[in-house]
């Protein structure tokens, strides 16, 4: 065979197959665009500000490595399906006498045309996309810059290098694939993955139940993870590894055994009398669930990971204001009289109205052992001898206390679960000489004073004025803090807040300046930091979502082709397209729904176990993330149904 005819074959082939390629091209363009957008941002000077502010460089780097890993796996999977689809064609070439080397050359040439084309399109799409992404990023991090992104040559080079390496991997994969096949096996490959129908065995039931048990065990441990049952770091790490291991293994076994077994029970109960919907959903899923177990486990884990990470970072972002509020309950919190005086004068000078709150703070040793139950050795707080800040009820608005009553303020949900709060009870204050016993009557979530006054950002005790005076007389000077009076300044007119913030920034620097706090500034800092993390996580989450959705969709395209003969039979027998489609819809509901529901449930338990480290609000951000994820994920399910519709229509 001379050179000309090979080129001819390549060209003809390319034109003929162009319809088959769109899946592959889509996967490529998508991956390239995503990666290029990410790298463009990485190299963009406009981002220096954010990166510098929190040393986000490392975060972005880690993100880009993870992105490469996902993209590689995704492309290799897409390529695997792609070459499998064309195995018949390859077999035909072999039959006509082409050597494997030549076939490999044809495929590679064809592949490289596709690959280069997609790379170029992807880079273009990615560049446009990165502008949009940058705008989003600046929006969520509250940074005001012009979003004039430049086309970055270094981003281009990095993208090209990465995808060149992936291309080599793909070539290697194709080479191995072609080398391994004989003509016969090439013809058979499409059906070889189709497992022979096997009977459901008792073994499977045991495996399935074991899987469910493992998942539940993991969930159970996760709910106890931070409630004081694991006392050392080592134990905690061990517990986390156990949770991960048992949940992932459990998920796998669940797919391998339980789903099939449950469907088998339903089917048996029908006594052989199945309607068309059950035929297309139950039997088809049962038939494939076992061989898809690994794929589904990966997808479930990836989904759970994405939802979990997105929820946590969104929780942080969402809680930024609340966190800032707990750090500085007033708009501006000042720790010494001098600064407060200066600030107030400047405010008056500018005609900005304000309201001042002044609270005296002392420190005392408190025995909390009756109200909290914590057994971690290495923590900041010993329940029997906790160092706590104490304020008088007379300084706090809306609080009335009897002489022996106290409240704990700044007692967030985080503390509640971390310390295993037991409820109200008696609390002892140890002064230098005397001990005063008081009754805890409740908790306040909000904090009263700014963070430098709350020892280690711990809760603060509000006691009656009489008790406060007693404690003040009996102070242990060694444990008192440097700052003893909190000045909270609230700006009356919210519109003047930014102006006030500018004045605040002119306060003299030093230790006091570090401890003085502007709520606005700290909200912005929080948002900036969490914004970038959320952005990276969101980017990765989106990639996880799209890749796992695509893989499921590709898988369904494959299954659709494999099931075409069944559709033909059913249509000949007189089942309408509508009949078949309704069955397929149920099938897809399961195919996409089962991994989604299990992924959601996994991420729910993951988030629930440790969310309080990330913020102050769990439900709203988590539900928003889950809802969004479900909506985006469903798109792939709908696309697959549309694809099936086409297959069914052409089946007769």
């Amino acid at each position: 065979m001379n050179k000309l005819s090979i080129n001819y074959i390549i060209a003809r082939n390319f034109r003929k197959n162009i319809k088959n390629y769109y899946l592959y091209v889509f996967a490529l363009v998508f991956s390239v665009a995503l990666y290029f957008a990410f790298v463009t941002l990485q190299f963009d000077p406009a981002l220096e500000e954010i990166k510098g502010s929190i040393k986000g460089e490392a975060g972005i780097k880690a993100g880009s490595i993870l992105l490469i890993a996902i993209v590689t796996i995704f492309l290799l999977y897409a390529n695997k399906l792609f070459i499998k689809r064309r195995s018949k064609e390859i077999g035909l070439y072999q039959l006509t006498g082409l050597t494997k080397q030549k076939i490999f050359r044809i495929l590679s040439a064809e592949n490289s045309i596709l690959y280069c084309g997609s790379l170029a399109i992807g880079i273009f799409v990615g560049f446009s996309f990165s502008r949009l992404v940058a705008m989003v990023l600046f929006k969520i991090t509250n940074i005001k810059t012009s979003t004039a992104l430049k086309f970055s040559t270094s981003a281009l080079i990095q993208t090209v290098i990465v995808f060149l390496i992936i291309f080599l991997l793909i070539l290697l994969m194709n080479y191995i694939f072609i080398q391994r096949q004989s003509i016969l096996s090439l013809f058979r490959v499409q059906s070889s993955t189709e497992e022979k129908v096997k009977r459901v065995t008792l073994n499977e039931m045991v495996v399935g139940l074991f899987g469910i048990a493992l998942i539940l065990t993991g969930y159970y441990i996760s709910t106890r993870l931070f409630s004081g049952h694991f006392n050392s770091v080592n134990q905690l790490v061990l517990a986390m590894i156990t949770i991960l291991g048992s949940v992932i293994l459990g998920t796998y076994l669940f797919y391998r055994g339980s789903v099939r077994f449950i469907f088998y029970l339903i089917r048996r109960q029908k006594g052989g009398y199945l309607n068309i919907r059950e035929v297309l959903s139950l039997s088809s899923i049962m038939f494939r669930m076992k061989s898809n177990a690994i794929l589904l486990t990966v997808i479930t884990t990836v989904s759970a990971l994405a939802i979990g990470l997105l929820s946590l970072s969104y929780i942080s972002y969402y809680s930024a204001e609340k966190m800032a509020k707990s750090d500085s309950p007033a708009d501006f919190s000042i720790v010494n009289a001098q600064d407060a005086e200066q600030f107030k004068q400047s405010l008056s000078g500018q005609g900005i109205g304000y309201k001042e709150t002044r609270i005296d703070v002392i420190r005392s040793i408190v025995d909390l052992s009756q109200i909290i139950d914590i057994s971690m050795d290495s923590v900041i707080l010993k329940p029997e001898q906790a160092l706590m800040s104490v304020v008088s009820a007379k300084d706090v608005e809306d609080v009335q206390l009897a002489e022996d009553e106290i409240l704990l303020a700044g007692f967030s949900d985080t503390f509640k679960s971390l310390f295993s709060y037991k409820g109200t009870g008696s609390v002892q204050f140890h002064g230098l000489h005397k001990t005063i016993s008081q009754q805890l009557i409740g908790l306040k979530k909000e904090s009263i004073v700014s963070w430098p006054f709350a020892y280690g950002r711990m809760p603060i005790a509000i006691v009656s004025d009489a008790t406060f005076e007693q404690l003040k007389q009996d102070l242990d000077p060694q444990i008192q803090a440097k700052f003893t009076t909190y000045f909270g300044i609230d700006i009356t007119n919210r519109k003047q807040l930014e102006e006030a913030d500018k004045i605040f920034q002119t306060l003299p620097p030093g230790d006091e300046r570090f401890s003085n706090e502007s709520q606005l500034e700290s909200t912005n800092e929080q948002k900036q930091m969490m914004g970038l993390i959320m952005f990276i996580v969101g980017f990765l989450g989106l990639t996880f979502l799209v890749t796992s959705g695509c893989i499921l969709y590709f898988k369904q395209m494959d299954e659709g082709e494999e099931e075409k003969p069944s559709f033909t039979i059913l249509r000949k027998l007189g089942f309408t397209q509508g009949d078949l489609l309704s069955g397929v819809q149920i099938k897809q509901l399961f195919n996409f729904g089962i991994p989604l529901i299990i992924g959601l449930s996994h991420s729910y338990f993951a988030v629930k176990s440790g969310w309080f480290f990330f913020g102050t609000e769990l439900w709203t951000p988590m539900f928003l993330v889950m809802l969004l994820y479900t909506a985006l994920y469903s798109i792939f399910g709908i696309l697959s149904v549309i694809y099936y519709k086409k297959v069914i229509r052409t089946a007769l």
Binding site: K196, V197, L274, F287, S566
Partner: protein, 256 residues
């Protein structure tokens, strides 16, 4: 009473410039309870004829009336409904669903008729016993032999008592023993249940089980043979004779 009446059926494929006429005006009528086979050489249009009669394919011209219902004017969805309710099919390559057990395959056409589970079970039991496949009811198609598969397929065609059963080369993939088993069962069911069967075959042995054989050549009906009271062997010889006259490459050449 005629259960199927076809008049002036034409079927052609291709476009305006490259048109190939496969059926060139076929008239036929099949009575209630008849067992008819259509024979012809490869390319004579017999499978096309079966497809258009059974509404799997559309005619280009002409009319097909089954059970008093004109088929050619029905829309696709109505056709599918009609097939589902009134027609039964047996195909050369069995066309069983791999993911269903034999019993599930057989009961499939009943699921849309609203028959109760109990009644369905009774029907199944009777039919499966007649066809000798009751023991394999819980097996999957890949676990049973070709003959068993085809009998399962036949059971599926009979279970909802359709007006007509169309069989496309049902013995094509079977060895001679399995083939004669199947044909015996088919003619038995034809007699016991008064089921109307229209079978396409190129196998004279298979055709000899029928009560009438229609010969097709080049898209037209060439002739037909009635078995009457003849023995199967004698009818077989008649069929062979007719086939000899009909087929053969020499005749084709003689025409040019």
């Amino acid at each position: 009473m005629n259960i199927l009446e076809a008049t002036k059926i034409h079927k052609s494929y291709g476009n305006k410039f490259n048109r190939q006429e496969v059926l060139k005006g076929i008239d036929m009528a099949i009575g209630q309870g008849e067992f008819v086979s259509i024979m012809g050489a490869s390319g004579s249009g017999k499978t096309t004829l079966l497809n258009v009669l059974s509404s799997i394919d559309k005619v280009s011209e002409g009319s097909v009336i089954i059970n008093g219902q004109e088929m050619t004017t029905l829309r696709e969805k109505q056709l599918a409904e009609f097939r589902k309710q009134h027609l039964g099919f047996i195909f050369q390559d069995y066309n069983l669903l791999d993911t269903l057990t034999a019993k599930e395959n057989i009961l499939l056409p009943l699921s849309i008729t609203g028959v109760t589970k109990k009644a369905a079970n009774e029907k199944f039991q009777a039919l499966a016993n007649e066809l000798g496949i009751y023991d394999i009811k819980d097996k999957y198609p890949n676990e049973i032999s070709g003959g068993q598969k085809q009998r399962t397929s036949a059971a599926r065609a009979f279970i909802h008592e359709p007006s007509v059963i169309f069989a496309d080369e049902p013995t094509g993939a079977l060895d001679s023993k399995s083939a004669s088993d199947l044909l015996n069962k088919l003619s038995q069911l034809n007699q016991q249940r008064q089921a109307t069967i229209l079978m396409v075959t190129h196998d004279p042995v298979a055709a000899s089980y029928c009560s009438r054989v229609i010969f097709i050549k080049d898209g037209r009906i060439y002739t037909q043979l009635h078995r009457g009271t003849e023995s199967r062997q004698a009818f077989f010889k008649d069929i062979m004779k007719t086939q000899g006259v009909l087929g053969g490459v020499q005749d084709e050449q003689a025409e040019y």
